[in-house]
């Protein structure tokens, strides 16, 4: 463990610098992570409430999903090409039937052979109400799957769904039918089995997950057999505790480091930092549909426009988030298919206009409300400040993600600072349709928008799709249902001993990592 650059820390002539002078005396902390014992320890703040990939919607869950499970199709993150994974080939029989040929000789981590039964089981199970899949949009386009023979499956769609391959290569990992039926969801969440390059050896609620390389991983996988032997995922809720652990070498990798801290970490000899824009969009959501919010000021379109004009998007993006972040006006990420930036109104930062709009709406002195948030309290506070400047006095409530989702679905959240990373799916349906198509998380319930999205999501014609997404974006933007604010950048900070590549889909792929 190298010494840190001491002079960075201390204000001049303080006790601290005296103590620092003594620090030459010795570092006695043994390095616990890393190269020496071939164990990569990565830490993140959120814990998936259930490691079973269909039963959480945390990004940390997706990371695990890609480590321990495989999907039928693989999308190469650098070329965006679809490559064979558990399926060796696939073909659209018509607009609602996909025929897939499966790979032979693949085994699950418990030794069970992989076959058509597993695919059929998985896709049919996740569409039952008892499965309680968290993000229904990921699977409810599938009507059912049927076995043609042991290594051929037909996936039958409810209606034409052009993004099907995108979903088959993302949030639809394959479960072992026999094992799952034996242990049930409860047993599965404690000892999950997949076909993936790493095997989950231990799930400790509140603490993390241990993984080991799957030595029997099939060699033809587009994901090569991993270089690192063991991986530990550690839940460290406090972001500063994560930094402290990284600086002291107790962990090798962490992410979502605020830009201010990232700049400081960059200076450290034992660490490296990379930043890039991600598909994640930060937005303010205003509840206009729930019964409890009937009398909320946000029912008034003028108020929602005022909120849009009150937020200083460029200050948020360029001063606070930084690292590639930019202002966003669409309820989706601009590179996603169908996410037409020109359809959205660019609400300019204009506090005076916001005040005028509030006055026009009958709130000349503003009003009091509650802002709920689950991450980045400093950004939430910047929003509070912007809102306060126009007269909207909001109280901040920081909740965990699960708690916030629950409160919001129960209609108790008038205003929320939320973010969405679209499961890294490069299609507008992965964001707009989750929040505006009448699902559990739709707090707008605009029937017109719902109709546009239903059309857009079910057409195979790209022109029709585009048209309808554009119409939906236009309606959402004109009604100011949301105040989309900025895209996220992600700062990854990790040990110099680690080789790590970041992708714009904000999905760390430790499978590709190795030691220097």
């Amino acid at each position: 463990m190298k010494k840190l650059k001491a002079s960075k820390f201390a204000p001049r002539r303080t006790l601290l610098s005296v103590l620092l002078a003594c620090s030459v005396m010795g570092a006695v902390v043994p390095a616990m992570a890393n190269k020496a014992d071939d164990t990569l320890i990565y830490a993140a703040g959120l814990e998936p409430e259930n490691v079973s990939p269909y039963h959480n919607n945390a990004r940390e869950g997706i990371i695990l999903s890609r480590l321990a499970w495989d999907t039928l199709i693989y999308r190469d993150p650098s070329t965006s090409e679809y490559k064979p994974m558990l399926a060796t080939s696939w073909k659209w029989e018509d607009s609602t039937n996909i025929l897939l040929t499966l790979r032979k000789g693949v085994t699950f981590q418990n030794g069970d052979a992989f076959s058509a039964d597993d695919v059929v089981f998985t896709f049919n199970y996740v569409n039952t109400p008892e499965a309680k899949v968290v993000t229904r949009q990921n699977v409810n386009w599938i009507d059912h799957a049927e076995k043609v023979d042991d290594y051929t499956v037909r996936v039958v769609l409810k209606k034409p769904f052009p993004a099907a391959l995108e979903y088959l290569s993302g949030p639809t990992p394959i479960y072992p039918a026999k094992y799952f039926n034996k242990v049930g969801i409860e047993g599965y969440s404690k000892a999950p089995i997949g076909t993936g390059p790493y095997k989950i050896t231990k799930v400790m609620s509140g603490e993390g997950v241990n993984l080991e390389r799957n030595e029997n991983y099939f060699t033809d996988s587009p994901v090569k057999k991993p270089a690192i032997g063991k991986i530990k995922f550690q839940v460290i809720t406090d972001p500063d505790a994560r930094l402290a652990q990284l600086m002291t070498g107790a962990i090798d990798w962490t992410w979502r480091v605020p830009s201010d801290q990232a700049d400081e970490l960059r200076m450290m000899p034992n660490l490296q930092v990379i930043s890039s824009e991600t598909m994640r969009v930060g937005y303010l959501a205003m509840d206009t549909a729930s019964e409890q919010q009937k009398d909320s000021p946000f029912q008034n379109k003028l108020v929602r426009e005022a909120v849009n004009h009150a937020i200083n998007r460029s200050a948020l993006a360029n001063e606070l988030v930084r690292g590639g972040s930019r202002p966003i006006y669409t309820p989706c990420f601009p590179t996603q298919f169908g996410c037409d930036s020109s359809a959205a109104i660019e609400y300019k930062y204009d506090p005076a206009k916001a005040k005028a709009l509030l006055a026009e709406a009958g709130y000349p002195n503003g009003f009091e409300t509650d802002l709920y948030a689950y991450r980045e309290m400093d950004l939430a506070e910047a929003m509070l400040g912007d809102l306060r400047a126009v007269g909207i006095k909001a109280k901040l409530h920081m909740l965990t993600y699960a708690a916030l989702r629950k409160e919001q679905r129960s209609g108790n959240v008038p205003l929320a600072f939320q973010t969405w990373g679209s499961y890294s799916v490069n299609d507008a349906s992965a964001m707009i349709s989750v929040y505006f198509k009448g699902g559990a998380d739709d707090i707008t319930s605009d029937q017109k928008v719902i109709r546009y999205l239903e059309k857009a999501d079910s057409s195979v014609d790209p022109v029709i799709r585009k048209e309808n997404y554009t119409a939906a974006i236009k309606a959402i933007s004109e009604n100011a249902y949301w105040a989309p604010m900025f895209s996220y950048s992600s700062n990854y900070a990790f040990s110099k001993e680690l080789n790590f590549t970041a992708y714009p889909d904000e999905l760390p792929r430790f499978v590709e990592s190795s030691w220097n």
Binding site: L19, V29, S410
Partner: protein, 305 residues
């Protein structure tokens, strides 16, 4: 004596029952449990089914007895958030908190008693005053701030000790200092007062007049008597530490009971919250009971009010 212990036991037992009622009510003020358990996507029928399955349709008094009865058998129900029973979550986390408490208490004792003795022997000199000043300043420091300061200095800048986690004994040093520090002033003061009291007593005067050496007087005779109330106080302090470890555990990301309670509070996971409140309270009740018995045992000679 036996009567005293018996009466004290009775009080402790009934306090435990009252506390269990309080922690049970905590859950019941948190809203409709059936809805919480069923989850946000559930239908009205599912909620009704759960209400029946979990016995939530029965009067609150019955529910309370059900809960206590299961709790006595070690079953605190299931966590709303984790796919796990509350009891297994607690047994998983308990060792960390107990270790933290024990190490903190040991550290506090090792510091407080010698300081208290020295302060008493050197009464009204600068040593005495320094000890009292440290005690005074120490009690004014917010524990979370002290803990952060320790991390910044000793973990991040000096690299002497780890900043968080619980895998080796080194991991417990900083949290134990942060937690134990707050018990030190009270224990030091009590040692000092006790020592002053004993040193001024006839009993010590006799020992001195018999020509025993000062060291022997102080350590063999005086300290032995002065230290027992301190031990009793230490038991009580341990109880406080278990309750106060929530802050320290969250700052040092120790996965103990405190962190569990904190996570549960922020997730509205009330079965876990009430179980932890009850368990910590019971610990405290048992520890104060021990302290009282200890104090009573030496009451005849020294503890004359």
């Amino acid at each position: 004596m036996l009567v005293f212990i018996f009466r004290r036991l009775l009080v402790a037992f009934s306090v435990a029952i009252t506390v269990s009622i309080v922690s049970f009510m905590l859950l019941h003020f948190s809203g409709d449990l059936a809805v919480s358990i069923a989850g946000p996507d559930s239908t009205a029928e599912q909620v009704e089914q759960i209400r029946i399955d979990f016995g939530l349709d029965k009067p609150v008094v019955f529910q309370y007895f059900d809960w206590v009865w299961s709790a006595l058998q070690g079953d605190f129900g299931r966590s709303y958030y984790f796919q796990d029973s509350v009891m297994s979550l607690i047994t998983e986390r308990m060792p960390v908190t107990l270790t933290l408490g024990a190490v903190s208490l040991a550290l506090a004792t090792v510091v407080a008693i010698p300081l208290g003795v020295i302060a008493a022997i050197k009464q009204d000199t600068w040593v005495d005053r320094l000890a009292l000043t440290i005690a005074c300043v120490g009690q004014a420091m917010p524990s979370f701030w002290f803990a952060l300061t320790l991390i910044v200095i000793f973990a991040v800048n000096l690299h002497w000790l780890p900043a968080g986690g619980s895998s080796t004994w080194q991991h417990f040093v900083l949290p134990a200092i942060a937690l134990g520090y707050y018990a030190t002033p009270a224990m030091m003061r009590l040692t000092r007062t006790g020592m002053l009291e004993v040193l001024g007593s006839d009993y010590i005067r006799t020992a001195r007049s018999k020509g025993l050496s000062e060291t022997s007087v102080i350590f063999k005779h005086a300290l032995r008597n002065a230290v027992i109330p301190v031990v009793a106080l230490a038991a009580v302090e341990l109880g406080f530490m278990l309750g106060g470890s929530i802050v320290i555990e969250s700052v040092f990301s120790l996965k103990g009971l405190g962190q569990l309670a904190w996570d549960a509070i922020s997730r509205n996971d009330y079965p876990v919250v009430q179980a932890v409140v009850l368990i910590i309270a019971v610990f405290y009740i048992v520890l104060t009971l021990l302290a009282d018995v200890l104090n009573a045992m030496l009451d005849p000679r020294l503890r004359v009010r």
